[in-house]
Symmetry: C2
Subunit: 198 residues, 2 copies
């Protein structure tokens, strides 16, 4: 009963993370009813993603003429301090705090096996080579994986790999999130908050 | 910090109903990381929506060679029974029940003012003319607006308009939804369920 283009759109959008069939169906009719210009606008938005390049140093995306992203090519940043993140969106979240002025390494989502995929090993090796050539040793490496059990396992593994290449290895501080309540904090979090009191 | 194509994609997707900025950001990186072929697949899915036509009789969408949708051109349906729906997705929901074998009129979302927009008046007039020419009077018109206060106001208004063109005007039955519990039904619903007991 549904025309092929509608079915196809729903199929593809429903396969995206956190969009279900119902939302995809609502979307397609919303789009159809907003007219040809809106459809073309979205078509272009999707098409233009093909212009994106991956930074040859940190593996974040960019659309610069050079092969470096805007962070890696910036002279105002301290390239001697490196934050290792899993996802691009983690990098963005850290950038939003405006508290970090170093560079990044985007590693890609880590498996729950505690082992790195070969592409991830390549990225880490790339970082090691770069540090060795640039500074001998980095000032600091922040391993910004999620504070979960798996994140912790992965973090120790990465730390072991990078230890010879940096003067200091750190992880993000843990404690009660701003706006959170002591009553509802789990023991682990509350314990960390006590340890790190100041 | 974000490349233009990424910003643009997020902007456009975040403007869609029930997709926020965070989800749009997650989407864009998901898409970028799934590679060029996936991006092209989605580009095509959006582009192909431009092939859709609107049925000249019921205003549902189609991609047929004729100017009628698959329902309106079907000889297996009873075109003398007409369901008036607001949205395409309402039509789809009714089709899924496989309990309706008539045709539809898609009116477009009704305003909360209890007045029809001019495009909606045109659609209703189009239906009146068609009924007059085809049958004199329709067998039945089902006004399938939502069972809300606004839906009710709109339904009475539409009913008044169509009364001269049909032998019978009905609305969808009300009662306790399947799987619902009496304890949690509001009085209005429970009252309807009693009235319509059988």
């Amino acid at each position: 009963m549904l025309p092929e283009p509608v079915k196809n759109f729903i199929e593809i959008f429903a396969a995206l993370p956190s969009i279900g069939r119902r939302q995809a169906t609502r979307l397609v009719f919303k789009l159809i009813n907003s007219g040809r210009a809106k459809i073309e606008e979205m078509e272009k938005a999707v098409r233009d993603l093909k212009q994106l390049e991956i930074c040859s140093r940190c593996f974040f995306i960019h659309s610069n003429k050079s092969d470096l992203c805007s962070i890696c090519q910036s002279q105002n940043r301290n390239h001697n301090i490196i934050a290792i993140v899993e996802k691009e969106i983690d990098l963005i979240s850290i950038e939003r705090t405006k508290k970090f002025n170093g560079r990044y390494l985007v590693l890609g989502e880590l498996a729950k096996t505690g082992e790195l995929e070969s592409a991830q090993k390549l990225r880490l090796n790339h970082l090691k080579d770069w540090i060795k050539k640039q500074f001998g040793k980095a000032e600091e490496i922040i391993i910004a994986t999620n504070p979960t059990t798996y994140g912790d396992i992965n973090a120790s593994m990465i730390a072991k790999e990078l230890l010879p290449y940096t003067k200091k290895i750190t992880r993000l501080g843990r404690g009660i999130p701003t706006g959170g309540e002591i009553e509802f904090a789990d023991e682990e979090t509350l314990g960390s908050a006590l340890d790190r009191r100041k």
